[in-house]
């Protein structure tokens, strides 16, 4: 079995399984956290309506565009492209048929190309924003530069593999780079901050329920630390 076949076959299945199981683990852990939070506090009503409204508001954050509008526009485009292109690209249809056995609709090549270019431009803009914007730069660590690049790479390599005339590498090499970089993303998704792809629905749940404190917890903390339920102030 050559390297590309191995990457497309067993390695793909292994990394995809790792991603699915890893993301499921996060969903289960976070769901458990929410249930545990509510069980331990007497204040148990959850404003689901407000949670859905707030989540929807941030999926398309038009009401938040007044501050850093270009960054937010780029972020929307980047996320839309990252979600749509890998899922609905005609060349990926066989992956869906081979794996879960579903036949998804596909997008035209022209549209896929346009969306990919837009996504790449948005991704490069976001990376540039992190590098050249002082505030963003001061907050960023190495991982904050690495992750966007890791996510952009499969998109860029896939685009170049589809357009061999522009590719600096032979088709086979570019395709190998595309598959391996995609598989790296599969591994990064559950192990880095990219996990927000599945934790996003929990963001607003947390915001709504996290001030639900536990009766008696302060005294138990004091008991653990000082052997008495008295506060630290005495």
């Amino acid at each position: 079995m050559d390297t590309l076949a191995f990457a497309r076959g067993p390695l793909f299945i292994a990394t995809m399984s790792f991603m699915v199981l890893g993301l499921l683990r996060h969903i289960i852990l976070q769901t458990h956290g929410v249930v545990r939070t509510l069980k331990r506090t007497p204040h148990q009503d959850v404003p689901w309506g407000r949670i859905f409204r707030k989540s929807a508001e941030w999926i398309v954050p038009v009401s938040h565009m007044s501050t850093a509008p270009w960054m937010k526009l780029a972020s929307i485009l980047f996320h839309v492209g990252l979600l749509l292109v890998p899922v609905f690209l005609a060349e990926h249809a066989f992956l869906w048929a081979r794996g879960p056995g579903v036949n998804l609709p596909t997008m035209s090549h022209e549209f896929a190309d346009q969306l990919t270019v837009l996504t790449l431009v948005a991704g490069i803009f976001l990376l540039g924003y992190r590098i050249f914007n002082r505030i963003s730069r001061e907050l960023s660590s190495r991982a904050d530069y690495f992750l966007p690049m890791a996510v952009i790479l499969p998109l860029l390599s896939g685009f170049l593999a589809c357009h061999p005339a522009w590719s600096p590498l032979p088709y086979q090499s570019m395709m190998l780079l595309h598959v391996l970089s995609a598989e790296l993303t599969f591994i990064l998704l559950p192990t880095t901050r990219l996990v927000h792809v599945v934790l996003f629905p929990f963001d607003r749940i947390s915001t709504e329920i996290h001030w639900r404190f536990v009766p008696g917890a302060g005294a138990r903390v004091a008991e653990t630390l000082r052997g008495t339920p008295e506060g630290a102030e005495v």
Binding site: G33, P42, I135, E138, L139, F200, H210, P215, A217, V221
Partner: protein, 415 residues
Amino acid sequence: MAQTVMHEKATIRPQPESEKPRFPYHLINPVTENRVQRFLEAFAAIIEHTNYKPVLDQYARSSMKCSSCTTNCPVYTATHDAKDMPCYRSGLLLKTYRRHFTIAGWLRSKVTGDPGLVEEDIDEMANLFYRCTACKRCTMECPLGIDHGLMTHLGRWILGELRIVPKGLEVSTIEQLHGDSGNTSAILPHALLDTLEFLEEEIEEMLGLKMKYPVDEVGREFVFFPAVSDYLMEPETLMGNLAVIHAAGDADNWTIGTGDFDGINYGLFYSDHVLERVIRKMVGEVTRLGGRRILIGECGHASRTAREFVPVFGGDEVYPVINIMEYTLEKLEQGKLDLDPNVITDRVTYHDPCNIARSGWIVEQPRRIIRSFIRNFVEMTPHGKHNYCCGGGGGTVSVDELHDFRMSVAGKRKA
């Protein structure tokens, strides 16, 4: 030993580095030995016994450090200091959590050699968590909904277990929970009675009407808890409260309790443990007096703590909580208050308190009251849920050493 100092941002005459004390506020007997270990022990105990773990997991896993929060933070927009970024400040706690309380963090430390929490981190947290006014304006702009106000609260609680708490907050709390007066301003019951008598005389002189503050009356609907400092510093507010309640026909329907007459709860700012005990004290007083509802004065944080935490910490007795502005509007709309719109002709605006406005709880009520007796009302921009902090939020108003920071940084921007 108490340690003194102003934060370098707020110091008029720069001090040499070697002379600078470690904290921008006075402390009472802070832990000085094994601080890293003690910090981590406190963090571990809090994680074990509370609901913070899922929130820390959520934030530590998904925080993208996109810097959106900075555009809304009044402190950062005043200083442009990277350390005043909400994400940076919360990141100190999240980094510690990730490193010491997650398997991934532990594994990463084996690869990178990250030593984890060090003494300097504790000092930095002690400084930065008290440069946050906990106004929660940043949360509105965070795509992932990270509540930096909660992180500030948690960080301060952990520090509090090392007795790294501004003296102004801790002394008041000690008096409220353990002192003879039982309140943050150390007003003894007989002093309260003298003050109330004085205010009754003042109001009679002003309005020509005899009104009484009911004290320790049993079986009344409302038990009243203002910020106790109002008895010392804002008597006009209390006179106004009396006049409104009297005019609304509730003169015999409320009482002040001498067992507890303080709505202030500094636990909101630095400790769940303090928060719970102050709430239980309040609920105990309402039960003693056979009251049915808790009426809070104009104070924002007192209103929020009572409303949010009486249902959590109040035990079986979940008394409904109402703020004086809600009460006033209710009576106004029932036609029980007749206000003359021609008395005040000056231009007036209203600055929303973060603790009651940010959630959207009390935004319209004060405006409807104001418009009923003031014709020249103008709004600031922004206002309501989007207001700017006055600068005294998060308890900083009660810490004298933070006065300059409050006036020149945290409260610099109002609109």
